[in-house]
């Protein structure tokens, strides 16, 4: 409970100043999008095996410590394994009797089910990795500028794109602040005798519930101050705003994007073409 900050990675930004960090945010967002699409398209083990070196390359370039990512993903990975076990046990598709390894009532374990769950797991892992790395390597301003540009066409439909992007960005900004606050509250309650680490799952969940009310109250207070502060700093929506940062896509950024697209195409088509 007291190690939340190390165990939750969502919304964090790790500034190593690497080429991945410096990549033009528009192209980085495009590259992330390509990889997200890839996670839907690729459905063979060989395909994911082909994507893996690309991810390793990106990760090495980004200089984000792998241990940090892994530790920060513990909750998520635990949850994923939990879901996948159910996926195997309750596999709904047709299974040939020869593939069934074990069954008991409605529960069964079959090679088909395991294969299916494994592919789903790989899809989710790729999706998680790409979005997490996008957050870890992109500062809020870069993310804002890129998202605003991507969603600009929606402005014609009178969607308040700039405002929605800012809301999203502020939400991310507050994640670590709230985590810190939850930790502080948990420590304060522990000091008064609330045993967070004892009892069964339901008891534990109830104790966590007791943290929610103070968190909500402080959340509303913070939102109130932030609204005032933004208003005082003359924030009146996205209209008429100018920007300090200039976005600049280098030849290297374009090369990286083209490389990622072609790599993904190969990983998607090559295994299906029967070469493997």
């Amino acid at each position: 409970m007291f190690e939340l900050q190390r165990n939750v990675i969502f919304g964090q930004f790790v500034d190593t100043g690497s080429p991945v960090h410096r990549m033009d945010p528009r192209l980085k967002l495009a590259a992330a999008f390509v990889l997200i699409v890839a996670s839907f398209l690729i459905d063979t083990f060989a395909g994911y095996a082909l994507v893996l070196p690309l991810l390793v390359l990106i990760h090495v370039l980004s200089r984000v410590p792998f241990g940090y990512l892994l530790r920060g993903s513990r909750f998520f990975l635990g949850f994923l394994v939990f879901i996948l076990v159910f996926q195997v046990l309750f596999y709904p598709g047709e299974v040939q009797p020869s593939n069934v390894l074990w069954s008991w009532g409605v529960l069964s374990v079959s090679t088909t089910g395991i294969r299916f769950a494994a592919i789903v797991g790989l899809r989710v892992l790729l999706l998680y990795y790409v979005t997490t790395m996008l957050m870890l390597t992109t500062s809020l301003v870069d993310l804002t500028n890129a998202l605003e540009l991507v969603f600009r066409p929606l402005q014609r439909l009178r969607v308040p794109v700039n405002e929605m992007v800012l809301v999203f960005v502020i939400a991310i900004k507050f994640v670590p602040i709230f985590i810190e606050e939850i930790e502080r509250l948990a420590k304060a309650q522990t000091a008064r005798g609330v045993p967070f680490d004892e009892g069964g799952a339901i008891k534990r969940a109830r104790r966590i519930g007791r943290l929610l009310v103070p968190i909500f109250i402080s959340g509303f207070n913070r939102a109130d101050v932030l609204t005032t502060a933004m208003n005082v700093r003359s924030y009146r929506g996205g209209r008429g705003r100018t920007k300090l940062r200039r976005m600049h896509a280098s030849a290297g950024d374009w090369t990286a994007l083209v490389l990622i697209i072609s790599w993904v195409l190969v990983a998607w088509q090559f295994p299906a073409s029967g070469w493997l």
Partner: protein
């Protein structure tokens, strides 16, 4: 110039349980003045801040900032003249890189890129943060974060800077350095400063102190004038700095300490002067 005339404000006006927060406040703050507003919780000082920047509007009376009345429709003009820094920097900083956050205000004004860059640079320099532009705010100390917040306010080039208890979460030495930086800004830029606090030792560092209690303005003067009213201050739950309290007791017992004494250094000087005086020499024989 900030002109406040007969200002009253109540939360939930028109309902039976309306809560009066300010009652008949009159206050004029000239350009470039260095003022502390002191009062304990619920004295109405934070409400005053919100009224000054047109987040709330007067129930009665009026406020004018450089001649512009605070009323609906004028809020953006008013906010271009007054900037506010709040207590917790985590609540008011919008972006995660120092330079990006300082740029947030000027960006909202729609300034050209070069102007924004210039303002960011000069604001960071004024707060001694010129090396930190590319740093992440979450990696900074609370004192540095508060400096970033002040740089962000400064980048708006306001006529008045309002500091709403910005030192509450800071250790005393850090708070003192912050106030001395603000003093420098006030002297060099001619920008008026309105510092909201509940610390008397901090208020002593300002040219003028305004004391509020239960929504009313009760005392207004130089720190020396204010600290003469020790009993009055205690009756509304405020205390004077230890040195001032000691002087008060010594004088009550007939020790003839001369001059205005606001802190320990003043007291040492006054005691030294007393030891040199003919009266003391006669006593000690």
């Amino acid at each position: 110039m900030i002109e406040i005339e007969d200002l009253s404000f109540a939360y939930r006006t028109g309902e039976e349980d309306a809560i009066p927060a300010l009652r008949g406040v009159n206050l004029r703050i000239g350009p470039g003045q260095f003022v502390a507003v002191i009062g304990h919780n619920g004295s109405g000082k934070s409400t005053l801040v919100k009224l000054l920047v047109a987040v709330l509007y007067p129930t009665e009376g009026r406020i004018r900032v450089d001649g512009i009345p605070v009323r609906p429709g004028n809020e953006w003009e008013v906010r271009e003249r007054i900037s506010v820094v709040f207590q917790d920097p985590d609540d008011q900083l919008v972006m995660n890189r120092v330079a990006d956050d300082v740029a947030f205000g000027p960006e909202n004004l729609g300034l050209p890129r070069e102007k924004i860059a210039e303002r960011v640079h000069s604001s960071l320099e004024a707060l001694g943060l010129e090396e930190m532009g590319e740093r992440l705010i979450e990696d900074l100390s609370p004192g540095q974060k508060q400096r970033v917040a002040i740089a962000g306010a400064l980048a708006m080039r306001p006529r008045f800077l309002v500091l709403d208890e910005p030192t509450t979460l800071l250790p005393a030495p850090v708070a003192a350095r912050l106030i001395s930086t603000v003093r420098d800004l006030n002297r060099s830029g001619g920008m008026g400063v309105l510092h909201i606090t509940h610390s008397m030792s901090e208020a002593a560092l300002f040219d003028r102190v305004v004391v509020m209690d239960e929504g009313k303005l009760v005392l207004d003067g130089t720190p020396a004038e204010i600290f003469r009213e020790v009993d009055r201050l205690r009756s509304i739950g405020l205390d004077v700095p230890p040195a001032v309290s000691l002087v008060h007791r010594l004088r009550a017992r007939g020790v003839p300490l001369e001059g205005d004494i606001l802190d320990g250094a003043d007291l040492r000087r006054a005691l030294a002067a007393l030891a040199e005086s003919p009266a003391y020499r006669r006593c000690s024989g």
